[in-house]
């Protein structure tokens, strides 16, 4: 191999070339979204490495189960907790559906909703970069997952699928600073955009007019605008309403309903309307 920097001036030139090339790749990747296939290929190649690196935690989990000494009991418990998670999610949706149903009945125009199909998934790993809120789940293309499908927990929305591989998928959590979500306040139906802040316990609603009717404790849910998420999925609770004197807009801070830092089991909405 050739030496990296033989002379300072040559080194500076090489640095400039490398930096320019790097920035160009970043722009192409982020602004034009043109490197999906590269990411897909590399992630697929990295799959064996990820499996090996997950071995200690998987082994530790297995040893823990073994120490309990009742493997059947553990399996049964896992199965029941999965069912419980699914049922809790469905119950949350049923509440919203009931409210929507009564509203529709009032308007005398009842419309049949698309059936939801939830796929259970488990988080394999979270990104070790503190500024990237991405999770890899153990369901992929072969299980029917596709880009854009909403990901839920028993409590509410978690994020959406952004990359799909044969056996796994990447989920962008809604608190990632690049994520934006059309939402509405359940009580008043005020619409806004929930923006990720890069903190797992915080979302922000910006540019709401100063006169908006919103208070601490209000539930925020998906509005269904944009066509990616079904309306009525719980998103967050309002924790702070910041009104600055003289400013025409109010800033609203909310905490996600789903405990994003403690997630393990998830549901991917693989129904037709769930994806793009």
């Amino acid at each position: 191999m050739r030496p990296l920097f033989s002379q300072t001036s040559v080194a500076a030139v090489r640095l400039m070339i490398a930096a320019t090339f790097s920035v160009a790749i970043m722009v192409v990747d982020v602004r034009f979204d043109a490197l999906h296939s590269v990411r897909f290929g590399i992630k697929t190649l990295l799959w064996p490495i990820e499996q090996i690196s997950a071995l200690p935690s998987v082994t530790a989990a297995h040893v823990g189960d073994w120490l309990v000494g009742h493997s059947r009991l553990v399996e049964r418990l896992e199965s029941l907790s999965l069912d419980n998670e699914r049922l809790r999610t469905e119950q949350l949706k049923l509440q919203t559906l009931r409210a929507e149903n009564s509203e529709l009945r009032r308007l005398l125009s009842v419309r049949e909703r698309v059936n939801e199909r939830l796929l259970q998934a488990q988080i394999q790993r979270l990104s070790n970069d503190p500024f990237v809120h991405r999770a890899t789940i153990n369901r992929g293309q072969l299980a029917g997952v596709s880009v854009g499908q909403p990901v839920l927990s028993a409590d509410g929305l978690v994020g959406q699928v952004v990359m799909v591989y044969p056996h796994a998928s990447d989920v962008l959590l809604m608190t990632d600073s690049t994520h934006q979500l059309p939402v509405q306040v359940t009580r008043t139906r005020v619409r806004s955009i929930a923006m990720g802040t890069g903190r797992l316990d915080r979302l922000e609603l910006r540019n709401l007019p100063d006169t908006v009717d919103i208070v601490v404790g209000d539930l925020i849910e998906t509005s269904g605008l944009g066509g990616r998420f079904q309306p009525g999925i719980p998103v967050a609770y309002v924790t702070e309403v910041i009104r600055s004197p003289g400013q025409p807009f109010v800033r609203v801070v909310a905490e996600p309903v789903a405990p994003l830092s403690r997630l393990s089991l998830l549901m991917v909405d693989v129904s037709e309307r769930g994806g793009l």
Partner: protein, 158 residues
């Protein structure tokens, strides 16, 4: 061979699942990989190889492709210039120099992340640089051991 082995070890460390809260306290293994190569074996490293090695790290971390290439290029440039002097000082001073260089890399990282739409807190990047510098000495010894195993010639240090 040594490059491949150290890169594989780095990728393994990057992809080990940790709780989200631990991410703030983890050293950046990719930066340590570059620090070791640029500081201890810069005569064996090429910029092209470094950039190719950085792309899978972008994928593993979930950052924009090219972000790590930018940081690594800057880091390699600075450390290669400082290399001969830094190699001769003791481990503590080395860690201090590594920390200072990592601060500049953190600035590049901050700029790159902002460019790609992220909203990073600079203090957290400084914290990450601190933990990375703290891990430098043990990682250096592990990499030296790997280099020894793979038949890489040793470089005289203090």
């Amino acid at each position: 061979m040594t490059f491949l082995v150290t890169w594989l070890l780095t990728m393994l460390l990057i992809t080990v699942p940790f709780p989200s809260a631990a991410a703030l306290l983890l050293p950046h293994w990719g930066l340590l990989f570059v620090v070791w190569w640029a500081l201890m074996r810069n005569y064996r490293l090429s910029m092209t190889l470094l950039m190719v090695a950085s792309i899978p790290m972008d994928v593993a971390y979930g950052t924009a492709l090219g972000l790590h290439a930018l940081i690594f290029a800057l880091l390699a440039y600075l450390l290669t210039l400082l290399g001969p002097r830094v190699r001769q000082v003791n481990w503590l001073r080395q860690s201090v120099v590594v920390f200072l260089v990592l601060l500049l890399a953190a600035a590049a990282s901050y700029w790159g992340r902002t460019l790609t739409g992220q909203n990073p807190e600079f203090l957290l990047l400084v914290l990450q640089a601190f933990f990375t510098a703290l891990a430098w000495t043990p990682v250096r010894f592990v990499f030296e051991w790997l280099a020894h195993l793979t038949g890489e010639p040793e470089v005289r240090t203090s």
